[in-house]
Structures are given as C-alpha cells and as structure tokens.
C-alpha cells in the first residue's frame, strides 16, 4: 500500500504538469510509458479487493459468492464477457448493474439508493472500487461479449439504435463523433465505435483512471459524460440505454484486447 501511495503522489505532480501541456496526445503517451506499471487505478483496485472480501451490509456478507457470469466468486475474465444475460434477474446486465444485484441479494443493500447516489457518493463509491478490482482481472484477455441469447440480441439492436439517435439542441448522436475513422474533437482522437478496431479502442480501455479529472471512471461514468456533452438529459445510472450501448460496443469490439483499467486524458 505504501508503494501505491508513493506512485500516487508522484502521479499527482505529473498530472499538474500535464494539465498545462499543449500537445495532449503525445504527453499522455509519455505519461503512460512513465507509469506503465503504476496506473493510479491500482489504488481503487486495492480498495475494491478489500471491499469484495469484507463482510458488510444488513446481511453482513461478503461478495465472494457473487456470480459475475462465470460462476459464483469467479472474477478472472468476467469483465471481458460483460454485459451478458443473467437467468436469475432475466436481464442483460453490465458489470456495474451486476455488482449492485449482488450487493442487494447477498448483502441486503438497497439498489435504489445506489442508483440515486451520484458518482463517487455513498455506496456507489464501493461499486466503483469493485469495478476497478474486477476489470484488472481481465487485463490482457480477449473481449468476448456474448450475442447469443435473444435478450442479448435485442439489447444489441437497442444499443445500435441509441447510438444513432439524434436529439437535443445540437442534433448530436453518439455517431456524430464516433461514426467515422480518423476524427478528432480538438486534439482528442475519437475511435470509430461502429467498427471492430475502433470499438476495441473504446471498450478495451474503459474503465480508466482519468488524468484530467484525477479519478477513476467506470464505463457508466464515461457514457454519462458523453451524454452530457451531447446535450441530452441525464442517463439514469445502469438504465437500459447505458447497458444497450455497452452491449453494442462490446459485441463490435469482439476479439480486441482488454487493457483495463486504462489510463486516459
């Protein structure tokens, strides 16, 4: 833990320097190299592992029997195959909604409370740490989000429709920025999420530690901020549209590599 703390402090000064850097893409690449084996997301991962194994909640239970899709308690490789259909809830769930199901069923927490809390607030903060822990255990694996169950296929089609849905005062959809190759907003490269290569760049590097805001962002938070910039109303945490978009990206990205947690601008 002290090693992690020193990495974290060293990162902080780098982050401050970076905020002023002009050529962001190059600087981020340099930054990634410098801390190649010390992504600040490690702090969240360590906290997440502790939370996973510690008895808590009204039922004073751990999450060690939580089924993330590969069987109770199996964390390794789970994030590379999410979202997926779960028989017990009869729903397609992403990592965050599935963790919340486990917190509700195994530990007795109120799912609604977690949904209504903001990012980094209350029990949501624990969900985020657990996400960091789980995704780290899929690092280097192949993305393999299933598209077999009728509900998975339905969510893929919903995700595709949501991706192209234009609205708001600027007529934006996800496709406005992420539908073509080699596009940028300012200096920020925009992956084309409609193709395997681009989808793997998006899906394979989130969740991530985000340098510009100095915190760990889950996929739900990434999508939330996309919609903010799209000038849409706010997507409800773990709502169907957010999960459908993850299915769309994850299935498109099939065969790409999980590089999670990523390190982003």
């Amino acid at each position: 833990m002290t090693r992690l703390k020193s990495i974290f402090l060293a990162s902080l000064s780098l982050i401050a320097g970076l905020a002023m850097a002009q050529s962001a893409t190059d600087e981020i690449a340099k930054y990634r190299e410098m801390i190649a084996d010390g992504n600040p997301a490690e702090l969240y991962e360590a906290a997440g592992e502790e939370i996973w194994k510690q008895p808590m909640g009204p039922k004073n239970a751990t999450l060690e029997k939580c089924d993330l899709g590969k069987g109770p308690g199996i964390v390794k490789g789970a994030a590379a195959e999410l979202p997926r259909y779960f028989k017990d809830t009869n729903k397609v769930q992403d990592l965050e909604s599935r963790i919340i199901t486990c917190m509700e069923k195994l530990q007795g927490y109120d799912a609604k409370e977690i949904i209504n809390a903001g990012f980094e607030k209350g029990k949501r903060k624990d969900v985020e740490a657990i996400v960091a822990y789980v995704v780290t255990h899929s690092k280097g694996m192949k993305i393999n989000v299933p598209n077999k169950h009728p509900k998975e296929k339905e969510m893929y089609e919903m995700g595709k429709k949501a991706f192209y849905f234009q609205g708001g005062p600027m007529d934006f959809s996800c496709a406005s920025c992420h539908g073509e190759n080699n596009k940028r907003i300012r200096l920020q490269d925009l992956p084309n999420l409609t193709e395997q290569k681009g989808a793997a760049l998006g899906f394979g590097y989130w969740p991530a530690y985000r340098v510009s805001s100095g915190n760990f962002w889950t996929m739900q938070r990434r999508l939330n901020d996309c919609y903010r910039q799209q000038r849409f109303p706010e997507p409800i945490y773990i709502s169907d549209v957010t999960i459908a978009l993850s299915v769309y990206m994850g299935v498109n990205a099939k065969g790409g590599e999980m590089n999670t947690p990523g390190l982003k601008r």
């Binding site: 192209y164 234009q166 007529d171 496709a175 940028r184 907003i185 706010e234």
Partner: protein
C-alpha cells in the same frame, strides 16, 4: 345490457394495445432511461423530422430516399432569417473568442451560461490554433479562397444559421435555428471567416 358491458372492455383493451404499439420498444426503453437534469430537460429527446431522418444510419451516410432528403433541406432552408438591416458583419476578434468556446447547454450549465460556437471542436480555423478538431472541413483562408460576393456571404450566413438547409444530415449544429448564438454573435463569426483583416485570411 349484458352484451354491452362485455363489448366496452374489449374495445378498451384493443385501444390500449394499439396505443402501446405506437410507441416502439426502443422508444420506451430509451425515454425511460433518462431523467431531466437542470436545463437539460426531457423534451430534448423529442425529435424533429430532421433528427428522425438522420437517426437512420443509411440516411446519415447520405443514402436513403432522395425526395425525403430534399424535402428536409427545403424545410430547413425556410427557417433561415437574414440579419436585421442587412448587416452581416461584426468583429473578427470577438468571432475568434466565440469560435474557441465549446461551453453551454449541458446539464452542468445554467440557463444564463453563454453558449459558445464550439467551432474549433471540429474545424481548423486560424492556423495558429493547433488544438482543433477534424470532424468538419478546414476553414483556414475561408474568405481568401471564396471572396465575399453576395452569394458567398448569404450562403455562409445560412450555413451557420441552419447547416441542414444544404446537407440534411450535416454533423454541424443548427446554430441560428436553435438560438445557440444570437444574431450579433453570428456576425462576429462571419467576420472571423470573411473579413480580409481576419487572421484566417492571411
């Protein structure tokens, strides 16, 4: 009387099922997934004909029904208001500041947050600004290359006011139509693009 009481519920059921199918599964899932937050209200999901048409990836890619495309461009063209007193120009320096700002209209903004033009997000404009996007074409030397004939001036005003008048599924926001910028702010952006003294035309 007995027969009638049986018939009425049957009609009600028939009516309610046909109403439910008018809203597709997708529309239901989509609208139930969002909540209003500050100025970003739920009516932002209510699409106009242009947004509906361009939410189809085939139409977005420039294919699809050409007649429908033409009708959409025509309808958007009809929304364009030329500036009061025929005054098309302002101050390129203010235009540059408007082009730089990508702020406004999100749920973290207030109703009185000044909305920026967001131009550099997608376009190269003054070459000195290296932090520019590439979703739209480069506007470097915009006026120098095109001159400032009445046709060029009116087209440029129209393109800023409502880009969909010229390309139904353009990625560019309809800046005047949605009042993202007011007339005076649009004049400043016009000067940035067309004023021979603007750095864009050096």
């Amino acid at each position: 009387m007995k027969k009638l009481t049986l018939v009425i519920p049957a009609i009600l059921i028939a009516l309610s099922t046909s109403f439910a199918s008018a809203q597709s599964n997708f529309e239901k899932m989509h609208s139930e997934s969002f909540k209003a937050n500050g100025i970003a209200t739920m009516d932002r999901l209510d699409q106009d004909e242009t947004q509906k048409f361009c939410s189809d990836p085939v139409n977005l890619a420039g294919k699809g029904d050409p007649k429908k495309r033409e009708a959409i461009e025509k309808a958007n063209l009809a929304t364009i208001k030329l500036p009061a007193n025929g005054q098309y120009f302002g101050d390129w320096k203010e235009g540059e500041a408007i082009a730089q700002s990508g702020r406004g209209a999100t749920w973290t903004d207030k109703a009185d947050t000044v909305v920026g033009g967001g131009c550099y997000n997608c376009h190269q404009i003054d070459k000195k600004e290296i932090s520019h996007g590439s979703i739209g074409p480069s506007l470097w030397n915009y006026g120098k290359l095109r001159g400032n004939s009445e046709a060029v001036v009116q087209y440029t005003w129209g393109k800023i006011y409502n880009s969909k008048a010229y390309n139904a599924c353009s990625n560019m926001p309809r800046i005047g139509h949605y009042k993202l910028l007011n007339e005076q702010q649009m004049r400043h952006v016009m000067s940035l693009l067309l004023d021979p003294k603007s750095p864009v035309n050096q």
